[in-house]
Symmetry: C2
Subunit: 595 residues, 2 copies
């Protein structure tokens, strides 16, 4: 029912981006184009044969909480066993620790494929990788050996435990406590909430990465430390020991993403809950931000994959479903056309294609920046890429969460009544995607991150890097007659966006409440400019391929969708800037009692 | 959990509209303000005590198809029995037939209340009233006595059977056939699909209003006739006879609106299916359009009610949930604020308030037009109201379906992770609301109806009536210093919208495919202008109340929300007009193979 558009994926990886060139770097020497294609083939095969078939059933039979344990459709574990066998758990990790040392860009494409097929099942290894990365970056060698290596092997799964019932967006309000024990470990007490993959029976162990406060630490976010809390304690020989005091209190029943357990956990309620400090005390949040940034890009990629799955399903339907006549043909005896012939259906498909392929371009671009940073000979050489990645992260998380959800809405509409039923995947994809503007930092949090932090970093250096990269592409696009108008339009938008940013940033300095009041709209506006840039890049890549004997329809489709985005979507950014430039205080001035 | 904002409802009915003046008309003489308030009190009490409590359970335990019958939560039937006892089934019908002869405007408010509480349960009597209205308008006295009267009494329920598996939006492609029998009745054969309330065991009988083709009728929409098809045949003495050959083939499992059965029906498959012609042959579609127009306004009202329910639930949450600090307060020891203090939360609440109360104003305005038409001494006197109602109907259906769904999206976001769980109603409301841009004519169909039909009627006379009414309010608004800028802005938007309409209408005449290519966007654009008008009217009504000792917060809230709509929403209409004015053919020119 859902199929991966491998032609587009190859285009995105190897034409719009120089992913094949990564093989020139020693770290990625194994990954030439042939090897990368093989990885994608394997991912697609496993995703289609093992992940997709149970996606609908898993949604209908969500994991249940019975006798203190999670009861789950066994197809999830079976699919993940195949995934593990293929080595995907450790795909991005160093060979030194048993990983496959895949470039992040390729890994992005792999994750996109699995998430398209079944995002609920795909979430478990993605969460595990995120948790393992934290240990890789900040753990001791002993912690790596004991906890991380089995995660890379796919024997242990992982989670991140930030939120609590009373503290979701505001981590400053965490109350989970960690008391030092005489042996150097800690004993944790508290309640964690919204823990994806928080419990299940599919792995030998679950490694929770937990934020908690050590007594006498500073108040707020500066007094948070990071701990490793295994579900089962681990003996010195690596074997599993006693059950640790991290207990499943319940599972949240959700609108979507239902196959991924989402748990409330009690720490240290009946049994002591032992944790191991990672890195230094009170630095937990800064460590966690590494994983959060990675997770945020992962959320954007997931949102894009869900959008893509809906797009492909609705495209297939539109090509096969006959109904209606075109305006001007009033002969009721003539046979109906397939609905893809109707302008409004084309519009809804174009809107999906523009959102999904635009978002995918951005997510892979971000992944390529990660590779560029890793490949840089020193910190200085990777500095610009790091700044740009920091700036793009809230956009890469939020834009797809918002506009690929909108794409899923269109997918339902293309199928009409059928789209609203459980007989087709599109309604499920829409429900799944609604999570993405909430978890890993809400849309509002991302807006504040972008406007209140990222555009300010190093005196606006990130915006300068962004502007320089966009202008380099604009200059190049000007050489294509067909793209000159778009290039000019993008340059104008960029100039205005920089001016709006300056105005808002200045206000944030003098009156943070007013400056940040419409940060969410600023985020959407910047997202549209960035996605327009991604479309210009795709259009250029398409033109480069013209004459190379490539499918002309593919190229024409890219150019038409670029045009669609520039005409139908990008102008909205100007409307939003006009509002932002006013520094309007309507939302801020609204009093609670006026509602 | 969900509560009705009676203060706003009273404001909408009696301040923004002269609903109380209807009592001066002989038809509505019983409905003075006191009587209307009593009706609303009764509706609210029944809705809150009998409809709301089972809304969540009904969603979780949707009606099932077992042994050829529908198994449903008995609370639905119990609630509808209370509703019936209170006389709401016949609320809008003539006293002559046992109805309560309520004004449509009041009835709109009543339906709004029940739909807020539980739209799935409320759907059954609303569908019944729609079906009964068709018989009231086009049936014989005998048909009224036999079929309609028991519907008014709430003993029989009703449905409308238009769609078929192969023909949803395109009724020209219907294939259900009706063969005349010697006794003047017809025998029907075919398959009907998406029939809301299509089967259940809650009423003595179900009266289906079925579209079918009589042999040798013209092809297409000109050869469709309307039939009464009872589930049980009715003897001459009014008692129930044999089971008629309309058989439940299955129930659709849906994303939302799950308590309302949605059935596939087989006509005349095993048992002959007897039907009775309504009115003249081949006029079925024009008859049905009466019901469809009524149903479309009903859909808009339902979408608004769902939006309102979400708004109220998220407002309550935002006022009670403490979390986070305001920008500029960096003291982590200070207590968290309630989240309604955060500008982004206020924005999401404002967006909901603007959408919901703007849409409600439009729906009640449309209902008032129905009353004005009924009250007109002759057809001529009601002519302008009829034209305006025709023009506003696709907007009244579609704008709330789109933007109150968006409101429900915001409601989830205000609750964060909690909003994504089944513990709160907001995710269910969002799922329910997703149906409304599909059923009773999709969003795309409404766009074509507005641009291809309604604005063309009588040489654009409907647009002239609309423009005249808006300008009358603009002139009046100019006298309020606080509203002069909004009035000016609305006048400018109206002028531009009229120009865009002329341009598009001209193109529809010469090149219908190009002219109608972006009809959906035209629909959204016109919707924004109309809702801005509704907000200007509300703001004026609020100012009129100032000084009358009315709650100042209520008035300030209306003015602030009007301002929000004019600043944050209305400018989008200009962006869309710029696109529409281009007569851009990007969507039209997109080839299927380019996707």
């Amino acid at each position: 029912m859902i199929s991966v558009d491998r032609a587009d994926l190859a285009f995105q990886l190897f034409d719009a981006l120089p992913t094949a060139s990564l093989a020139a770097l020693p770290r990625f020497a194994d990954y030439d184009r042939t090897a990368m294609d093989e990885v994608l083939d394997t991912a697609e095969r496993i995703a289609m044969e093992h992940f997709q078939p149970h996606a609908a059933a898993l949604d209908l039979n969500e994991p249940r909480f019975e006798d203190g344990k999670v009861v789950m459709d066994p197809q999830v574990g079976a699919a993940l066993a195949v995934y593990r066998e293929a080595g995907f758990f450790g795909a991005g990790f160093d060979r030194e620790w048993g990983g496959a040392q895949m470039p992040e860009t390729l890994l992005g494409a792999v994750n996109f494929i699995f998430s398209m097929a079944n995002i609920s099942t795909a979430a478990y290894p993605l969460l595990t990788a995120g948790a393992a990365h934290l240990i890789a970056s900040f753990g001791t060698d002993e912690q790596k050996e004991r906890f991380m290596k089995p995660m890379i092997e796919g024997r242990f799964f992982g989670t991140m435990c930030l939120s609590e019932p009373q503290a979701g967006s505001s981590l400053a309000e965490l109350t989970t406590r960690a008391e030092p024990r005489s042996d150097g470990s800690y004993e944790l007490t508290g309640h964690k909430m919204w823990i994806s993959g928080g419990d299940h029976e599919m792995s030998e162990n679950i490694i929770h990465m937990v934020l908690a406060k050590i007594p006498d630490s500073p108040a707020g976010v500066k007094g948070i430390s990071l701990f490793i809390v295994p579900k089962f304690l681990i003996e010195d020989d690596g074997s599993l020991g006693a059950r640790n005091g991290v207990a499943l209190a319940g599972l949240n029943r959700k609108m979507g993403y239902r196959g991924t357990t989402n748990a409330a956990l009690n720490l240290g309620e009946d049994t002591p809950c032992i944790g191991y400090l990672v890195g230094e005390p009170d630095k937990g949040l800064s460590y966690m931000f590494q994983m959060m940034n990675e997770a945020r890009i992962g959320v954007g990629l997931g949102a894009t994959a869900l959008g893509a799955a809906g797009y492909r399903a609705s495209l297939l339907y539109a090509k096969e479903r006959p109904q209606g006549h075109l305006p001007g043909n009033w002969n009721p005896e003539s046979p109906p056309v397939t609905i893809i012939e109707h302008a409004d259906v084309k519009r809804m498909l174009l809107a999906q294609k523009a959102a999904v392929e635009g978002a995918l371009a951005l997510l892979l671009y971000a992944a390529f920046l990660v590779d560029a940073i890793k490949a840089a000979p020193n910190v200085e050489a990777g500095h610009d890429s790091r700044l740009l990645l920091d700036l793009l992260t809230p956009i890469a998380k939020s834009w797809p969460s918002e506009f690929c959800l909108e794409a899923n809405k269109h997918a339902i509409q293309v199928l009409g009544g059928y789209g609203y039923t459980l007989d087709y995947p599109v309604e499920r994809l829409y429900r799944d995607n609604r999570a993405n503007s909430i978890h890993e930092g809400t849309h509002g949090i991302q807006g504040i991150d972008l406007l209140g932090r990222k555009v300010m970093q190093e005196n606006g250096a990130g915006m300068k890097v962004l502007a320089a990269r966009i202008m380099a592409d604009v200059t190049q696009a000007h050489t294509h007659r067909e793209l000159a108008a778009h290039a000019e339009e993008l340059a104008a938008h960029l100039g205005e966006a920089v001016a709006t940013t300056g105005k808002l940033a200045g206000t944030v300095g003098t009156d943070p409440r007013l400056g940040l009041a419409n940060a969410s709209l600023y985020l959407d506006m910047m997202g549209h400019v960035v996605i327009a840039w991604m479309w210009l890049r795709q259009a250029m890549a398409a033109l480069r391929k013209r004459g190379e004997g490539v499918d002309a329809d593919f190229i024409d489709g890219k150019l038409a969708t670029c045009r669609y985005f520039f005409l139908y979507e990008l102008p909205k950014a100007r409307t939003q800037r006009a509002l932002l430039d006013k520094l309007d205080d309507t939302t801020l001035a609204m009093k609670p009692q006026w509602f």
